[in-house]
């Protein structure tokens, strides 16, 4: 009877520890995916480490997990890879310096496109209006007589 209390305590501690460990792992899994999704799978063509089934990517995911479990922040883990591979390892380039051009270009291209379309439209409507004015000039009497004759049964 006396031996039961410490045993119970041990069992309870074990259950709690297992629960805590399982929780830590679950959180880490999502974090691993989040970090891996930012990294380029080095042996693939345009796949992230999270999406690639390759052995290299799975080893990289294991490294990400290990570093996160060791208490590193996601940004630190990403930096670990950047230090070794350069910014090439990042699927989206960082938003600073020359890289900003990559982020700005699509928006600039769309803006230029809309401006061009706008300018062309203005020109077309102006020309159309001018053509309308020409059509509005009175038809001379000879022509009017001829139209009337041809319309009569």
């Amino acid at each position: 009877m006396r031996a039961r209390a410490p045993l119970l305590g041990l069992a309870l501690a074990l259950v709690l520890a297992a629960g805590a460990a399982a929780q830590a792992r679950r959180v880490a899994e999502q974090q691993v995916q989040d970090v891996a999704a930012q990294l380029r799978c080095v042996v693939c063509q345009n796949l992230s480490v999270a999406d690639s089934p390759s052995e290299m990517a799975s080893q990289m995911r294991a490294i990400v997990r290990e570093r996160l479990e060791a208490g590193e922040a996601p940004a630190q883990v990403v930096q670990y890879f950047v230090e070794r591979y350069g910014e090439w390892i990042l699927l989206s380039p960082r938003r600073h310096g020359f890289n900003l051009l990559v982020w700005a270009m699509p928006a600039v291209a769309v803006a230029v496109g809309f401006t061009l379309v706008g300018l062309v439209l203005v020109r077309w409507t102006r020309r159309g209006a001018a053509a309308g004015r020409v059509a509005a000039t009175p038809v001379d009497t000879a022509m009017r007589d001829r139209i009337r004759r041809e319309l009569e049964p």
Binding site: M56, E83, L119
Partner: protein, 178 residues
């Protein structure tokens, strides 16, 4: 905007795009400059294919040619294996060591590879991929030339040639240990 200017603007806007493409298609997309050149080489302790310990630290004071390869890497790794063996034999007495690191591979296939080419320099396996990542390896073969002080001085992507081996090694040998 006058129509005349507009007529010129549209073809002119293609010029920067064409210039970018002309530049982009000329460079090799696989040729990415390594940020590791000039930095200390990461230490590692691996096991050779025969199970003996192999540590980079133990080679300090020598010029190290660190080659990443795999038995499935055909043809580049098959082309360079005789080159590495030949040059290792030529330079081993001058304080140069060649170390092969087999990555993403099966032990039997790797052992067959070293046997077939009669490789006599030490070859280790990177089973976890950690050494590959530490060296920013993105494919095989890749070769790093490490100076006597343990710094990475050059990275060669693709099969090593006699010329590339000699050029890099001679340069590092000519340096006095600082």
């Amino acid at each position: 905007m006058t129509p005349r200017l507009l007529r010129w603007l549209i073809p002119l806007s293609a010029v920067p795009v064409l210039a970018l493409l002309a530049y982009g298609f000329r460079v090799n997309p696989r040729d990415i400059p390594s940020p590791l050149v000039g930095r200390p080489a990461s230490a590692f302790a691996l096991q050779t294919l025969e199970g003996a310990p192999l540590a980079l630290e133990a080679q300090r004071g020598k010029v190290v040619v660190l080659n990443f390869w795999a038995s499935w890497c055909y043809p580049a790794c098959y082309e360079e294996a005789p080159v590495l063996e030949r040059n290792w034999r030529a330079y081993r007495d001058r304080g140069v060591v060649v170390i092969g690191v087999d990555i993403q591979d099966k032990l039997e296939a790797a052992q067959k590879f070293t046997r077939d080419f009669g490789l006599s320099f030490p070859n280790a396996r990177d089973t976890t991929g950690k050494v590959s990542v530490d060296y920013g390896v993105y494919g095989v073969p890749e070769t790093f030339f490490i100076d006597r002080r343990g710094r990475i001085r050059a990275k060669h992507v693709g099969a090593v040639t006699d010329e590339a081996f000699r050029l890099n090694v001679e340069k590092l040998l000519s340096e006095t240990t600082g």
